[in-house]
């Protein structure tokens, strides 16, 4: 008899949904290739630059000053103030600090929001392909996704709003949009944002907008934000993160903009999930927001160069098809004759020494694609393309 086994042989078990919870299809491939020597990793959503020293030094300074105690669950006031000014500057949106809540990652901003609005048995309507965590989190809450396809042409990805509206049924509580989109780079036109806002109002639905890539765009200083088209007490929740904009993926800090009336709910959810974000990290986040613009500008130029390099080269590969991304820092491309993208991603670890994310990870419509993150130096991208060409071209 095993320890922990009752005389009748029964044992305590996990919730069935947790035992069946899918591993991230991205992480699965990474874990298989993490230790492969010389591999060029372009599978994950981060560049090759560490956090700018000015930000890292702010954290070190706050640490040395002893900011190591418990703090405000909603975020330290200077950070909430700085983010309010930032959103005003970038989006021209008036956002009161009382609407801003600091979270332990953009992922946590999503988790807390879904905890707040999704009862077991309810539905979240979202586009696909999309970042896997958006739908993989749902079984934890007993909720289910309904997917609306993004459609790819050579001109770009687009969303048929009528299909999205039709996907909203009686169990739907919220619509989740991620634009600029991971993995597609899709941008939502401002007119569509207003139409979706009106639809959500009319149907009593939450509108959840993941704007993590709002600053990584190539034809404007920022992507349009739902903050620009919605009112302050709209049933709108905007998800954001320090990860992409300021090369702080490893820090795990994000934020939420929500109606001020739900401040106590977010405070409670933060308390009962992780009990806040380290004060000394929040001081560094203030520095990111207030002194990080030169880095953001340089990052966008680096990404633009990466995009142009990768697109120019891969456009000549006959098996490869893609739409040139308008935002975010990924190329999401299909490869003719390669229907199993997970197998292909695993093969590329060995055969090419390049790490790409399999399209299967990104929900319906992802199969047959690979995701390549181009937020990397031209040298590394060129080396990766040289290795990929024999397999993919």
């Amino acid at each position: 008899m095993h320890p922990g086994t009752a005389p009748d042989g029964s044992r305590a078990e996990l919730r069935a949904a947790m035992a069946a919870l899918p591993e991230s299809g991205i992480v699965e491939v990474i874990n298989r290739g993490r230790e492969v020597p010389g591999l060029i990793p372009l599978w994950v959503g981060e560049g090759d630059l560490p956090t700018p020293p000015v930000i890292a030094e702010a954290a070190a300074r706050a640490l040395a000053e002893g900011h190591t105690f418990y703090t405000w669950q909603r975020g330290i006031p200077p950070l909430r103030d700085a983010l309010a000014r930032y959103l005003g500057r970038v989006h021209g949106a008036e956002v009161a600090p009382e609407r801003i809540f600091v979270t332990a990652s953009g992922m946590q901003a999503i988790m807390l929001t879904l905890q707040a609005v999704l009862d077991p048995g309810t539905e979240l309507v979202t586009t696909a392909p999309i970042w896997p965590n958006v739908f993989s989190v749902l079984p934890i809450l007993g909720a289910v996704p309904r997917f609306v396809p993004l459609e790819r042409s050579d001109d770009g990805w687009r969303l048929d709003l009528d299909r999205l509206f039709a996907a909203c049924g009686p169990r739907t509580r919220a619509v989740f949009l991620n634009a600029p989109g991971n993995p597609t780079g899709w941008m939502m036109p401002r007119a569509d944002m207003a139409a979706l806002r009106d639809f959500c109002r009319a149907r009593g639905l939450w509108l959840i907008a993941d704007e993590v890539y709002a600053r990584i765009v190539y034809d404007a200083p920022a992507a349009p934000s739902f903050l620009e088209v919605c009112d302050p007490d709209e049933r709108l929740i905007v998800i954001n993160s320090f990860s992409k904009t300021w090369a702080m993926t490893g820090w795990r800090i994000g934020w939420v903009v929500a109606p001020a009336e739900f401040g106590q709910v977010y405070e409670n959810l933060i308390q009962y999930n992780t009990s806040g974000v380290a004060t000394f990290l929040q001081h560094a986040a203030v520095t990111a927001v207030e002194e990080g613009e030169p880095f953001v500008a340089a990052l966008v130029e680096r990404c633009r160069a990466g995009r142009d390099l990768v697109c120019a080269r891969m456009a000549a590969w006959p098996r490869v098809r893609f739409a040139r991304p308008e935002g975010a820092f990924y190329l999401f491309f299909s490869v003719a004759g390669e229907p199993d993208s997970r197998a292909l991603a695993l093969r590329l670890i060995e055969a090419a020494g390049v790490g790409l994310a399999p399209g299967t990870a990104f929900g319906p419509g992802g199969e047959g694609h690979l995701r390549l993150c181009f937020a990397t130096s031209a040298d590394r991208l060129t080396a990766a393309l040289d290795r990929l060409a024999p397999v993919l071209a």
Copy 2:
């Protein structure tokens, strides 16, 4: 018509359970008194010492070295290895690194564990008074607590195991123990641990042990751990944290020990809740575990002095009753003639300039008590007692 209102006046609403989620009774009082000048705060579970410089410097060094990227969801291997050695050294328990998962706080270690084992409608059996987050987290999951009272005599707090066994019904999935206990300082005798282990085996129940205060004890190098009485694949999950032992409350790092077979489940839950803990913080955590023993010894002596000072003084106050705590760093005392501890705690902010946590926050059996954290210098404790005496003595 408000924005976000349908023509029929309906609006998207929060889950009813989230709108009703209780604010932490501790945080409520803190938020009311946080800005009161000169207040001596003894309400929260942390001392007055910042994190030891050797630990803070390790984080600053890792930051300067550019450890700012995504990392292992289960925790960096050097930290899991260091924790395995630590548990062996402190508890004489053989714990493989594969059983250890790094979390974004002890609170998150609890949240992930409850997500893994509690379906909506199931029950968690736990003692009371207890740290409020243990039961306040349950409505998020649609689960409910069943409380078993700890009983106070002048000799100490004790648990009647038969009452705990009787509280476990058909919907019970897990038993949650916190020993040394917050707020009581209660310690569970090793023989009771073995009896509870046998009961959980026989009934197919999870055993969740919150051992965050295992090192803050006054008559041994460490409290007994369930790791010492359980087998490696026991249905046992041990919750721990860096917060108390190494004065890292503001860092938000904890860990879980669970059966190795559930590694993928914890990895997924970490991924979909916060996606890991900052690498540079984990490097500092390695330093805490490997070089932190002198600090732990000094902390325990500081707490012992605080305990002895507070107990000696308050024993002479006729309205006050308490049991001298054997572990943790709180005095949980009742005050005759003060049935409303929340009102009393709020009054003490103004009347005494001292912050204490109200007993109401800690569930059944807490009302009529206050919690005082004595992990503080003798000078501050003396000043606080001088201010409290006119109101409480």
